[in-house]
């Protein structure tokens, strides 16, 4: 089928691409593991965390999961290591090499 997103890949022949490169389906970015783009990752120090959740909305890759009003461990499969979360934390609960 011309709109099957699973056929998109760097080895895909032109015949198998979707028409107009449309991407059908929602949340397809989950399939794209951007975590491998960086070797440096943020570290979550749970003891210092007050669960203010300021880090959650600033993450460009939605890598901080929230459950029952509490944040969990980083989704490192998608984290690109930008370090914005480190800057956003008022309590020093997130650290990362090279980010102050």
């Amino acid at each position: 089928m011309a709109s099957d997103v699973n056929k998109l890949g760097v080895k895909t022949k032109w015949q198998d691409l979707t028409e107009g490169m449309i991407i059908v389906g929602s949340g397809t970015s989950k399939e794209f593991k951007t975590g491998e783009w960086s070797s440096v990752k943020p570290e979550f120090i749970e003891d210092k965390c007050k669960q203010c959740l300021l880090c959650v909305p600033v993450c460009p890759d939605s890598c901080i999961p929230v459950k029952d009003m509490k944040r969990g461990a980083f989704d490192l499969e998608h984290c690109k290591g930008c370090g914005i979360c480190v800057k956003s934390c008022p309590f020093g609960a997130i650290t990362m090499e090279g980010v102050k």
Binding site: T12, W14, L17, E19, G20, M21, I22, G25
Partner: protein, 393 residues
């Protein structure tokens, strides 16, 4: 049942659009295409259509809105001319590469400068590589018939490309001539309902349109797009066959006029084809074996079919109503000559630039072209292959 009428080309296209009753029509006025949205706006006001008619502030926006509407799942179109088309440039490529089957009623007009509002084909010829299907008309009847067929071609699952329905500014757009219209229900049944497979406003199936494609994908994407264009040829023929059943009027990729035994031929696009037919009748009455090929489908270009139709001619004049500034002719000239070359044609071919900025083309002018071809046949040499018709010098 056809209805005999007398209408200008713009009225005719507007009526075709009323009968099609598209979902969305964003519009911005520009001479000589202004009348199309103008007539259509009255149909909207009278409740004769239930189209969403959007008045926007520029052609950049009219094409953008048409693209948005089409991606959302609507049957959408707009109209423009000349600089208006130029201002849509970026969007033309977006519409085609996103495989959106929208339409554009183009009324051909010269591009500046010097600033000019009259007919030539420089606007649409400039857009020939944008990935749009382009179909041209000789008169108001053909403009109407082509508009009725437009969405059947563009929306076909093997094609899914935008389509440009072109007619000559003022010469056909503003001239009142006889025409035969189809009944409203005939057009409605012929065009049918638009049922896109994927569209943005489908809550059951979310999708993204117009993604970024890195080098790894881009060429494959373009090749995929080219396949739609390849498929368009057969679809244009099939739709024409079905159209003939309801209208009695037959169309192909191009029209051949007295080509069976023609030794000299003219290849031309648009309203001057009719004038050329009169020239041919006059010359045929004197026993001269002259003929005409009038291109209807210019993009995709029917190169093989055209070379076949020209295989027995000794000399051919290809008429361009647009400059190419290649120092060897215009766009149609380049296309036809490469078709002839690939077919190993022995025909002597010349390329004329004519009718720029509305320069009138008379029967006598076209007779002079056939005279020049006669000389070329006698000489066995095409001479200067890049010529201007009727230029003061």
């Amino acid at each position: 049942m056809g209805k005999r009428e007398r209408l200008s080309g713009n009225e005719a296209v507007a009526i075709a659009l009323r009968q099609i009753n598209p979902d969305v029509f964003p519009a911005f006025p520009i001479t000589p295409s202004t009348e199309i949205p103008q007539y259509f706006a009255s149909f909207v006001a009278n409740g004769q259509v239930d189209t969403e008619f959007i008045t926007v502030e520029s052609e950049h926006s009219s094409m953008s809105a048409t693209i948005g509407a089409s991606a959302a799942g609507a049957r959408a179109l707009t109209a423009t001319s000349s600089c208006g088309l130029a201002y849509m440039w970026e969007e033309l490529y977006i519409a085609a590469s996103n495989r959106l089957p929208l339409a554009l009623a183009l009324v051909n007009r010269a591009l500046s400068g010097p600033i000019n509002i009259n007919c030539d084909h420089s606007d649409s010829m400039g857009a020939r590589d944008a990935g749009w299907i382009q179909i041209y008309a000789e008169n108001n009847q053909e403009a109407y018939d082509n508009m009725v067929q437009a969405f059947r071609i563009s929306e076909h699952k093997d094609v899914r490309l935008p389509i440009m329905i072109c007619q000559d500014g003022f010469i056909t757009s503003h001239a009142v001539e006889n025409i035969e219209l189809l009944a409203d229900n005939e057009v409605k049944d012929f065009v049918g309902e638009y049922e896109p497979e994927n569209y943005l406003l489908n809550p059951k199936q979310p999708m993204a349109v117009g993604p970024y494609a890195i080098t790894d994908y881009y060429m494959e994407a373009k090749r995929n797009q080219a396949e739609g264009m390849k498929n368009a040829v057969a679809v244009v023929k099939d739709v024409a066959k079905e159209f003939a059943k309801i209208s009695g009027r037959e169309y192909g990729l191009f029209e051949e006029y007295f080509m069976e035994d023609a030794e000299r031929a003219v290849v031309i696009i648009g309203s001057a084809a009719g004038t050329t037919k009169d020239a041919i009748d006059a010359l045929r009455a004197k026993g001269e074996k002259v003929g005409l090929i009038k291109i209807r489908l210019y993009r995709p270009f029917p190169a093989d079919e055209l070379a076949k139709a020209l295989k027995n001619v000794k000399a051919v004049a290809i008429m361009d109503r647009a400059e190419g500034y290649s120092n060897h002719g215009g766009p149609l000239g380049a296309d036809v000559m490469s078709a002839l070359y690939r077919a190993r044609s022995q025909a002597l071919a010349v390329n004329y630039i004519y009718g720029l900025g509305g320069r009138d083309v008379r029967v006598e002018d076209m007779e002079s072209v056939f005279d020049a071809l006669k000389q070329i046949v006698e000489d066995g040499d095409a001479g200067e292959t890049y010529r201007y018709l009727g230029i003061r010098e």
